[in-house]
Symmetry: C2
Subunit: 351 residues, 2 copies
């Protein structure tokens, strides 16, 4: 890196004060005179001084950086969350370091090691491999506080869970109230918590509404971004095809819409549809698609607040008692738009 970079020493010399005073003036400490602050700031500006981050964090033991390890940034939902989070944390002077692991265990492990040695102030993690021993050990040994996003790890950790049960219950009730009897779920067959919970919650919600659980109505393409096209075509070609569909809002949704369009079915006349998680590309769809979604602004606020609270406690080094781990159930919001209507068969007699 540039050797000609200005240091705080240069600033102090130019301002005619000691090194310590310059530091205090720049970091807004208590015991500095107005005059000193002014002179130091002028000197810093004229030298275009920028503090050296490595030196600062070596000494102060704070990197002012928060790390995120998400399983797949290509997933627009994570991308959106990251965007909000970054904007939110930046306001407190924190930078966000992201590490994307593409659902690969080895990348998750290397990533965790790297993040650990960089001594970030805190971490937000959503590893794909919740039950891997090495990964769990690594997390446990992490020197900084960390927050888990919708994963059920082996280790006890602060976690924000998404309320899949509540969310899917809301959607199924909505369909049931409209008179739908046959409801399908199209979602990735992932092993991680969101995948597992969505399927379980869907079945539970059906039972709670006295609806039959028809396993054929569960369309489970292997990965979160892969195509559900063929499966949806098959499902919707059946004689007793579902009249309503709950669809995961990633690539699965676009291929489902594609299949619906190819079959010439109309939404909501022939088929009602609710997406889980509003994918960006769908927000202008015609007709507007009813969505079960997470309020990412609220979520990123909650994450930030929790993190800062933990960071605060951590300042006093070994505090008396470790606080109980956070276990927050974060709600989904159901936004009814134009993609749901009563099923045809029910409407017909009324005509």
């Amino acid at each position: 890196m540039a050797s000609g970079r200005r240091t705080i020493k240069d600033v102090a010399r130019l301002a005619g004060v000691s090194l310590g005073s310059a530091s205090r003036a720049l970091s807004g400490a208590e015991n500095v005179s107005e005059d000193t602050i002014a002179r130091v700031q002028r000197a810093a500006a004229s030298l275009r001084y920028r503090p050296n981050h490595a030196a600062r964090s070596l000494r102060s033991r704070s990197t002012k950086t928060i790390g995120c390890m998400f399983s797949d940034m290509t997933n627009p939902l994570y991308a959106k969350l990251f965007d909000m989070l970054e904007a939110r944390l930046e306001r407190q002077g924190y930078m966000t370091l992201i590490s994307n692991t593409s659902n690969q265990l080895d990348r998750e492990i290397r990533s965790l090691k790297l993040l650990a040695e960089r001594g970030l102030d805190a971490l937000i993690v959503a590893p794909a491999h919740e039950r891997n021993r090495e990964l769990n050990d690594l997390l446990q040994q992490l020197p900084m506080p960390y927050l888990v996003l919708d994963r059920e790890l082996l280790v006890k950790a602060d976690t924000i869970f998404f309320d899949h049960a509540g969310g899917l219950a809301r959607v199924v009730e909505h369909f049931a109230a409209l008179g739908h009897k046959r409801i399908g779920l199209v979602t990735a067959n992932l092993k991680s918590r969101p995948g597992r919970r969505r399927i379980a919650a869907f079945k539970t919600a059906l039972r709670a509404n006295d609806l039959k659980v028809i396993d054929e109505n569960l369309v489970l393409p292997p990965s979160s971004m892969s195509s559900a096209f063929d499966d949806v075509i098959k499902l919707l070609s059946r004689k007793d095809r579902p009249t309503a569909l709950v669809v995961q809002g990633t690539g699965v949704l676009s291929s489902t819409l594609n299949a619906i369009s190819v079959l010439g079915l109309r939404i909501p006349d022939d088929l009602s549809l609710v997406s889980i998680g509003r994918a960006d590309f769908i927000q202008h769809h015609v007709p507007a698609i009813s969505t079960l979604r997470v309020d990412y602004e609220r979520l990123s606020n909650e994450i930030a607040e929790h993190l800062f609270e933990r960071l605060g406690n951590n300042n006093g080094h070994s505090s008396r008692k470790p606080p109980p781990p956070l276990r927050r159930l974060f709600p989904y919001v159901f936004e009814e738009r134009a993609s749901t209507a009563p099923p045809r068969k029910v409407l017909a007699p009324a005509l």
Copy 2:
């Protein structure tokens, strides 16, 4: 951060060697005996030693980190590039720090300052505001080498441009060869280079093929991710509607497909279509969509190689002559798939 963290001093003591030897052993230096290496590594492992990154980069003046500033990570194209880049750089021991600015000038400026003071080894930037004075000044004062991605800045800088002209020429020739006379372009009306160049290149390509430039065929929704639905509906409802469409592969593409589906038009029977940049959500579309795309794997390799070359030169501090700035024209690849065919009117007489 944890105060009980092990340092290299602990490792050296346990291994029974000096601090310097421990350091050399761990960083794979030249002059260390096999025996020392083994003992130090054993000691490090048993202590669960992790080097302190701040100390290391303060001393060695290298952060082993490369920063990216992209205008919008929510754009799946950037997300994909970042993913490949991260995997590529990780292999050389580099971490990738991403900063997402959502096309906001103030975030770009703050971001650049933060990245600068963290003394990253190199930067990859694609700012939305190419011609902003403050942003250009900031770039010029950057202490580390940086690479610009498809932007025309005021300052001279290493840049990889995408070959929009070559790419669009290829697509228009393809359509012309199939017999299309009326070709439309649907793309965001962004002020940044990709937006500008795409439009200009499209017009040039039409002229080169003796096709009329019909301004009404240019559909320009305001932002790269916004909806083109209404505009595409209008365009395709016209009597002399285009028989072929070139569509930007972001949210614009999904809303265009949505419009086409609502109008009941079939691809490629009623309308041929090529997307620019394969959005992830479209890779399984039926019919498969012909695409003008960037080879992100190759691109990330070129970026990495260029960066390491610049880093190499930078080691020798002020080298004799600064090398001429890189101005690389990066090619598009045209992948013909199933979404293009001769126009109907031309086929009819043949029947």
